[in-house]
């Protein structure tokens, strides 16, 4: 199959099936089957795209046949195809988990909106990874965010509305800033095509470039939840049902990270000041995020703060701006998507069984549910970076890159990364001792027995457990294939540092 057929598929397929899913809303099983088949298809296409991008170079499509600067470009290079594959796998696993948990069809609503929204979310995420056009990136973000607004407020209770409000207002404000930045980029260069803008921005005055670089950093920084723009995340994520939280935690912030990686390396490759600021922000994000996690009582909030903290590692890799640093950042992104999603899925299992995710109210799970304990422990240790799990390998890559870089700022960031790693171990260890050790706590009654989310059942459904176990195995697989994977990340990083590959592929 030609690239022109393959590249748009991860966007078009879920979008069309979302429409079909609304039409078929009366039959739950057809809807479920349709969503599973669609996302399996996206996984297949993403795998082919990754193979082709790695073997034959970036796969480019000019939509509608309009040549590059005028039309919209879709491009799958190594970085975007890799992230596309990982996110498609995560989307598929979480969908199966959600079906197992039974949050996909509301008891009180007649219209089953979960499946269409989930598919639109998948389309938005795919488009954000594949687009080669700044304004199209904005549209992708909006497609992704609007469906996430619906998913986060699906239950419509007090907590969801309060959290959803914060989430939507902050995201919308970031979107408006994004439009502002696009307007300024267009006024400066006369194009919104990323490859074209990369060429023309070199002729722009240095001050203007610095301003645009910082504006885009702020815009994507809100989406990626970097310091000091992260406070919306721990407030809003934990209120959604756990599969929704899991997919948000794994993917939405990483789309922001991807956008930062893409724009900073492609549009502003020589902006040393931004790189220094990135290192400072990385240190602050890592340390402040993990300090927030230490005092939390709710497992899902604790994990939400670790998301913020570990976004700092990816910024650290980008701030180094070397092949080793960027390769570490890409590997870390892959590892973090898998591990963070797994942890939220396990947190959902714990809540399902115990009726609460509060550390103070639970205990003794290691005795009563040893499988659950193992499922929590492996990704938690991986998050903290214990060898030989994937977190250790990703962190090792970053730390080596930091030490190789030298310089006061890079060394400070390296030590902050080690410190954060230790504090992460403390945070997840505290959750371990509170939830899994100690006297067996009584099951908390479901506070909202009539909503779709059934908790406190003392049971762990087979499908949910199987998906969580699959995700844990996925995390372990990263360790097994670490060699080839790191080599792929290094090739992707080399592409990032040489914008001419990307520009040449798009402009021909």
């Amino acid at each position: 199959m030609s690239a022109s057929l393959l590249v748009p598929l991860p966007v078009v397929l879920p979008l069309m099936c979302a429409g079909l899913s609304i039409v078929l809303a009366r039959n739950q099983w057809v809807q479920r089957l349709l969503s599973v088949l669609t996302l399996s298809g996206v996984v297949g296409v993403a795998a082919v795209l990754l193979y082709r991008a790695d073997t034959y170079g970036p796969q480019v499509v000019q939509l509608g046949g309009w040549a590059a600067p005028a039309g919209i470009t879709l491009i799958a290079d190594r970085l975007s195809a890799l992230l596309l594959l990982v996110s498609a796998l995560v989307l598929l696993s979480v969908l199966l988990y959600a079906i197992g948990q039974g949050v996909t069809e509301g008891r009180r609503t007649t219209l089953a909106v979960f499946h269409p929204c989930y598919l639109v979310l998948a389309a938005g995420i795919s488009m954000a990874f594949l687009t080669g056009d700044l304004f199209n990136l904005f549209v992708a973000f909006e497609v992704m965010l609007v469906s996430s607004y619906v998913l986060i407020t699906l239950e419509g209770g007090k907590a969801q509305v309060r959290a959803g409000m914060t989430y939507i207002v902050v995201s919308l404000l970031a979107s408006v800033l994004f439009v502002t930045a696009i307007g300024l980029v267009y006024a400066t260069t006369g194009t919104v095509n990323l490859a074209d803008a990369a060429v023309r921005l070199q002729e722009a005055p240095a001050g203007v470039r610095l301003l645009l670089g910082f504006m885009l950093l702020v815009v994507f920084g809100v989406k990626a939840a970097i310091f000091p723009l992260f406070s919306w995340l721990p407030d809003s994520y934990p209120t959604a049902p756990s599969p929704v939280t899991a997919v948000f935690a794994g993917l939405l912030t990483k789309v922001g990270v991807y956008a930062i990686l893409r724009t900073q390396t492609l549009l502003f490759p020589d902006a040393e000041r931004i790189q220094q600021v990135l290192l400072v922000l990385a240190v602050l994000t890592m340390v402040v995020g993990i300090l927030g996690a230490l005092v939390q009582d709710d497992l899902e909030r604790l994990l939400s703060f670790t998301i913020v903290s570990h976004i700092g590692y990816m910024l650290f890799g980008l701030g180094l701006f070397s092949v080793a640093g960027l390769a570490g950042a890409v590997l870390y992104t892959v590892h973090h998507i898998v591990v963070q999603t797994t942890l939220f899925l396990v947190a959902g299992l714990i809540e399902r069984r115990e009726g609460t995710s509060s550390l103070a109210l639970s205990g003794g799970l290691a005795k009563s549910a040893p499988l659950l304990a193992a499922l929590y422990l492996l990704p938690a240790l991986s998050l903290a970076g214990i060898p030989p799990l994937s977190g250790f390998l990703a962190k090792l890559g970053l730390l080596q890159a930091g030490l190789a870089e030298g310089g006061a700022l890079a060394l400070t960031a390296t030590s902050a990364a080690v410190l954060t790693s230790l504090l992460t171990l403390y945070a997840v260890g505290r959750a371990w001792s509170d939830i899994f050790w100690g006297p067996v706590a009584e099951v908390t009654a479901d506070p909202n027995p009539y909503d779709t989310l059934t908790i406190g059942t003392k049971t762990t459904p087979v499908l949910m457990t199987a998906v969580a176990a699959f995700a844990v195995v996925g995390g372990l697989t990263i360790t097994v294939i670490a060699g080839p994977l790191y080599a792929l990340c290094a090739r992707a990083a080399a592409d990032l540092l040489d914008p001419s590959v990307y520009v040449g592929a798009v402009l021909g």
Partner: protein, 171 residues
């Protein structure tokens, strides 16, 4: 590229007023503030398309003034269509999200009886360090049972419902 002072001032005022409204606690002001800021952003995008008054489709006059028009050979003398298309897209998106936000603000009023941004309960709980005291943990549990999160409309009950002391359970 020539600037337009009036438009620039309008954009600045819209951003300023919008930011002021966003910082209020009342939800409806936040929504209006967001609408104003997005209008400002749309105007800014329009300004990026160069001066107004050029022919929309074809023209025999000289090349257009904006950076975009100058870059595309077919566009000489005509107004740059790209920013206008982008503004339209942005307007539609903001429109949809604003409608959703209004619905959510109404839902919030239905549930809490207050048109105000609610404090985060878990933050307040962490601030009080209640988990260190065993009785407090029991309180937390009681709250959770009390607050059954019904969908009844409470109506306006004044200040008593809002504020950090509101006994909401972590969800």
């Amino acid at each position: 590229m020539t600037g337009n002072l009036t438009l620039a001032l309008v954009v600045g005022v819209l951003y300023g007023v919008g930011t002021y409204l966003l910082l209020q606690r009342t939800l409806i002001r936040v929504v209006i503030g967001l609408a104003l800021i997005s209008h400002g952003a749309n105007l800014l995008l329009l300004m990026a398309g160069g001066p107004s008054g050029l022919a929309p489709f074809s023209s025999e006059a000289g090349p257009g003034e904006s950076a975009g028009a100058a870059s595309m050979p077919g566009l000489s003398g005509t107004a740059d269509p790209l920013p206008q298309a982008m503004v339209l897209t942005a307007i539609v998106i903001t429109f949809g999200v604003s409608a959703f936000l209004l619905a959510l603000a109404y839902r919030s009023w239905q549930l809490t009886g207050a048109d105000e941004v609610q404090d985060d309960v878990e933050d307040a709980a962490v601030a009080r360090r209640r988990r260190l005291v065993p009785e407090a943990a029991d309180d937390l549990e009681d709250d959770e049972v009390d607050e059954d999160d019904t969908v009844e409309e409470t109506g306006w009950t004044g200040e008593a419902e809002s504020g950090p002391d509101l006994a909401q359970a972590p969800q």
